[in-house]
Symmetry: C2
Subunit: 523 residues, 2 copies
C-alpha cells in the first residue's frame, strides 16, 4: 500500500496549486505560524452605491476608505488636519507644531533629517502594516532596535558611567548559566534534572553562557569574543587580541541594568524591525496616494448624529468655510475617543460609555539635531537604543544615513505613561529640551557642545488626539464598544489589543468594515 | 578649593578641542572602548619618489596603494584578475565563473539580484572597514543576522520539522532561568548566593526569563509576548490574543537547537551588522575609484625576486602580451600564500616557511534564485539566517529589497571548513546545487517549485586564491611571517588575527605599510 507522506503531500499540493495553497496547507499542518492577518478582506456582494462617511484620515480611516471604495461603496472622508496620517507623522525642516498652550515650534533640521513623533518602528510580525507597505509601494529599511554597542545607564550604578550592552548582556548570561551549571554539577538539582538530561543541559549551558570546560564563566579570549576585548584582534605585529575582564556578578545583579536585556527579545522589539525609508509618514503618504481624492481636509467634526435611515455629521471648515453637513448611509468613525467624547453625538450603549470615559496615555518624544553624528564617529553606535533610569528613559539613534557627514537627528527621549510623561507634559518645549540635553549628557558628554536644534511633542498636548493611545483599564466594555451601533462603527488602535500600534489601527478597521459590509449586504 | 570633576574636565576638553580630542579623552578615561583602528596611518616624512610595487588588488593591496600614494610613493599594482577586489566579490547577471576543473557557470539572475560569494557581512566593530566605507562613499545598509522568525532545524529533532528561533530562544531561556530560580528559592545555592543578592537575583531571573510571580516559566500572555501567540493580538471583535504553549524543556535540551542561540551574540555576529548597498563589491569599487589608475589587470606574477637594491617581479600578461617585468624599491605582497607558494620567489626565514606550508580553509557558498520571495510572502522571514544540521549548514535571506515582487536570491548554503566543504568541493556545480535544493526543501517545501537558477562557488577551486582564508595551526611563526623580509612585506587576512575577514586584510595592510614606511624614512 502506498503511503502519502506529509512531505509528499506538500509537494503534490505545491505542484498543483502553487504557493498560496502550499502556504495554507503548511499552516494547517502546523508548519507555518498562522497570522490573524491573511490579506485584505474579501468584501463580496454589491453595496449598490451605499455611501459611507469616514471620520478621520489616519491609518484606520484610510484603510477603511481604500477597501470600501474597492468594494463599491461611495466614500467620503473628513479630516481635521491639513494632511492625512494622524499619528503616523514625520516632522521635517520647516514643519510647524503647536501643542495646546505651547508656543509654536518650527522645525529647523538640516535637509533630509526628520523625526517621527508617533509610531517609531514596525515589528516583523505586524503583517497588516507590512502588507499595506507592500501594496502601497512604501519601501522599508531595517530599524535597529538591539545594538550591542549601545549603552545601559543608571545613575546609581557604576558611578553613573554608562555600560555597553554587550558587556552586561554577555556577563549576566555567563554568570547565571555558571551558577546553574554549578548547581547541576554539584548534584543540587537532582530532583529537577534527570540523570540523562544532565550532561546535555550542561553542554547547552556551556554553549549559551560561553562557559569553559569547568563550567565557569571566566576571563578568556572565548568570552571576549562575546563581551569585547581589551585589545581587539588586529593585523600584523600587534594583531594578537587581549582578553577583557568580566564584570563582577554581584555588581551586575545590583546594578539593575539586566532590566533592559529582555526588552529586545519581546515580540514587539525582537529583530528584525523596520521603518519606511525617509520617515514613518511614508505609510500615510502611500495611503493618501490611493484615497487622497476622497478626503476633505480642515474639517472639524462638531456633531455626529444617526437614526435608522443614516448618519448626519456636522463639521466646521477651519479655513473659514463655515459650518457644513455631510450625510451617509453608514459611518466609520476613527476619531480618537479623547476627542469624540467632546463632540456632540448620539451613540448609545457600551460604546457611548467608553467614548465618554476612556482616557489616553501620554507620551513625550524629542527630536534632537546635533552638528555631527558623534554617536557613530566617536562611539561606534550605529542605530539602536540606549536606556537610562533618568526621566528621558531612552535615546534612540537613527537607523539610516549611516556615516553621513552633516548634522544628525536622534530621538532624545521617549517617555511612556507614568510620572515622567506628566512631568514633561507640564513643561514648556524649551524646558523639556533643556532637561533632555542635561540628562542625555550623562550618557553622551558631547551633547551640549554638539547640540544644534530640537523639537518635542507631548502627546497629551497634541490638539487632534490629546494622547498617544487609548487605555483599557479592563476589557469589560470592549465587546460592546466594537459593535456596530445602529449606523456607526468605530475603529482605531483604541479598539484593538495592540493599542498605540499602527497594526492595531489597521486590524481594527479591517474587522469593523468586514462586519459593516456584512450588515449592508445581508442585513 | 575648586575640584575639577571628571565631567567638567570632559566638557572643558570638548569645548576647547572639539570632538576628536573629546573622544581620545573619553577613551583614556575608560568611557569609550579603545579600538585597534583609530584612523588611517600617519605616514609622515617624504619618501622622495621611492617606488613600491603592490602585488594583488584585493582590499589589502588597495589599502596599501591608497595610503602609500597619499604619502608620496610611486605605486604600481599588479592584479591577476580583470577587476579589483579579490575575495570582496559580487556575482550578477551575465557574470561568469569557472572553478578549477569545473564547467563555466554563467549567472542568470534577474536584473538587480546578486550574491556575494566571499565576505558576507560587516560587524559593527570592524572599524577599519566601516571607516574606509565612509571615506570611499560606500553606502551601507543593515545586514539582518538574527531573525527571531527564522528557523532552527535538525533532522533528528521535532521529526525534522523546523522550529522558529523565537520559540527555541524564549523557551530555552525561560526554562533554564526557572531552574536556577527554583534552586535559589529552595535554598540549594546558599553557599553560592549571599542572602542580600538572593532577592535581586530572583527579580533579575524573572525579568530575563519571563518568569511569573512563582518564578515559573508557564503558558501565559506574558510569555507569549516573547515566544509568539497561538492567536496574535488583533483588532475588533476577535482581537483578544490566545496564549501559546511553551515547548517541553527536555525536548529542547535534547534537540540540540540551543547550539545556534549564542552565535548571534558573538562579537562577529551581534547586532547591528552591515552590508554595502548593492553588493559587497561596492567596497572593492570604492577603492578602485581611488587607485584603479595604478592597477595593471590580467597580470599573472610568475616570479618575485629581491636583493639589497630592490625587487624584480616577472609577470605574464594573460591577454597575450607575453612576459613582462616590473621593478621597485619595495614590495607589498598580498598574494595569498596558497598561490605565492607556487610562485618562484626568494623570500627567506619564517616567512618563506609559512608561505610554503600554510594551508587554506575551504568554504562553499550558493546563490539560489527563486521565482518569488516565498520566505517573505509565505513565512514572514525578512533577512536573517536559518540553521540546519544538514551539510548546507545555513540559509541566509536577503537583507535588502524587502517586498520585491520579482525573483529573489538567497544564500542557499554556507559550509565552513570540515567534511562538508570537502564533500561539496568534490561535486560538480550542478550536483552541488541539486543537493542544496534537496536539503533546503526540508526547511522550505517551496524550494523545488520556485527554483529558477543558481550559482555556487567552492573556494578551494577558485583559481586565484584556492581557499577562502589562511589557517594558522599555531602562531609560532606568525611574528616572523609579518616581518619585513629585506625588501618585501606581506599583508592580507592571512597575516592577521581576523582570518577571512576584510577587517583583517585592511588592518594587516595598515600595519605592514606603517612599518615599511618607517624603514624607508628612518632606515
Amino acid at each position: 500500500m502506498t503511503q502519502i507522506t506529509r512531505r509528499n503531500l506538500l509537494n503534490m499540493i505545491g505542484t498543483v496549486a502553487g504557493g498560496t495553497a502550499m502556504y495554507h496547507a503548511m499552516a494547517a499542518m502546523g508548519h507555518a505560524a498562522p497570522s490573524s492577518y491573511t490579506g485584505p478582506p474579501k468584501l463580496d456582494g454589491d453595496p449598490q452605491g451605499t455611501k459611507v462617511l469616514i471620520l478621520g484620515a489616519g491609518l484606520a480611516g484610510m484603510t477603511a476608505a481604500l477597501e470600501m471604495r474597492a468594494a463599491g461603496y461611495e466614500v467620503e472622508i473628513l479630516e481635521f488636519r491639513e494632511k492625512a496620517g494622524g499619528r503616523c507623522w514625520t516632522l521635517r525642516s520647516g514643519d510647524e507644531f503647536t501643542g495646546l498652550g505651547e508656543k509654536k515650534q518650527t522645525v529647523d533640521f538640516a535637509e533630509g533629517n526628520y523625526i517621527n513623533p508617533g509610531p517609531w518602528r514596525i515589528p516583523h510580525h505586524h503583517y497588516a502594516v507590512l502588507d499595506y507597505c507592500r501594496r502601497l509601494n512604501v519601501p522599508l529599511e531595517v530599524f535597529v532596535q538591539q545594538n550591542f554597542n549601545s549603552y545601559l545607564h543608571r545613575s546609581d550604578a557604576y558611578d553613573g558611567k554608562p555600560q555597553r550592552l554587550r558587556e552586561i548582556e554577555t556577563d549576566y548570561r555567563g554568570h547565571i548559566t555558571e551558577l546553574l551549571a554549578k548547581a547541576v554539577d554539584q548534584d543540587k538539582l537532582d530532583e529537577l534534572v534527570t540523570p540523562e538530561d544532565r550532561e546535555m543541559l550542561l553542554e547547552s549551558l556551556r554553549s549559551y553562557g560561553v562557559l569553559d570546560d569547568q563550567n565557569e564563566y571566566v576571563k578568556s579570549l572565548q568570552t571576549s569574543e562575546y563581551r569585547g576585548f581589551d585589545r581587539r584582534p588586529g593585523g600584523g605585529v600587534d594583531g594578537a587580541p587581549i582578553a577583557s575582564d568580566p564584570m563582577d556578578p554581584q555588581q551586575i545583579i545590583k546594578s539593575g541594568l539586566w532590566a533592559h536585556l529582555s526588552t529586545h527579545y519581546s515580540l514587539q522589539h525582537q529583530a528584525p524591525m523596520f521603518q519606511p525609508v525617509g520617515g514613518m509618514d511614508g505609510i500615510a503618504k502611500g495611503f493618501e496616494r490611493e484615497v487622497g481624492d476622497l478626503i476633505t481636509y480642515h474639517a472639524k467634526v462638531v456633531s455626529l448624529q444617526q437614526d435608522d435611515e443614516g448618519v448626519t455629521v456636522t463639521w466646521e471648515d477651519t479655513q473659514g468655510g463655515g459650518q457644513r453637513t455631510s450625510t451617509a448611509d453608514w459611518c466609520v468613525c476613527t476619531i480618537p475617543f479623547s476627542i469624540l467624547g467632546q463632540i456632540d453625538h448620539n451613540l448609545s450603549g457600551d460604546l457611548a460609555t467608553v467614548v465618554d470615559t476612556m482616557y489616553y496615555n501620554g507620551s513625550v518624544k524629542w527630536g534632537l539635531e546635533f552638528k555631527r553624528r558623534f554617536w557613530e564617529q566617536d562611539e561606534h553606535i550605529y542605530g539602536g537604543v540606549s536606556y537610562t533610569d533618568q526621566a528621558i528613559s531612552e535615546i534612540s539613534y537613527p537607523s539610516t544615513g549611516y556615516h553621513s557627514e552633516g548634522p544628525g537627528v536622534l530621538l532624545g527621549g521617549y517617555t511612556w505613561r507614568g510620572a515622567n510623561s506628566f512631568k514633561f507634559n507640564a513643561m514648556s518645549p524649551e524646558d523639556r529640551i533643556k532637561v533632555a540635553l542635561d540628562q542625555g549628557a550623562k550618557i553622551h558628554p558631547q551633547y551640549h557642545d554638539e547640540f544644534k536644534t530640537g523639537v518635542t511633542v507631548s502627546w497629551h498636548k497634541v490638539p487632534w488626539v490629546l494622547g498617544c493611545g487609548g487605555v483599557w483599564e479592563n476589557r469589560d466594555q470592549y465587546p460592546g464598544a466594537v459593535e456596530i451601533d445602529n449606523r456607526v462603527v468605530c475603529a482605531g488602535e483604541h479598539l484593538s489589543y495592540l493599542p498605540a500600534w499602527q497594526e492595531g489601527a489597521i486590524l481594527s478597521s479591517l474587522d469593523a468594515i468586514s462586519r459593516l459590509h456584512d450588515k449592508v449586504i445581508n442585513g
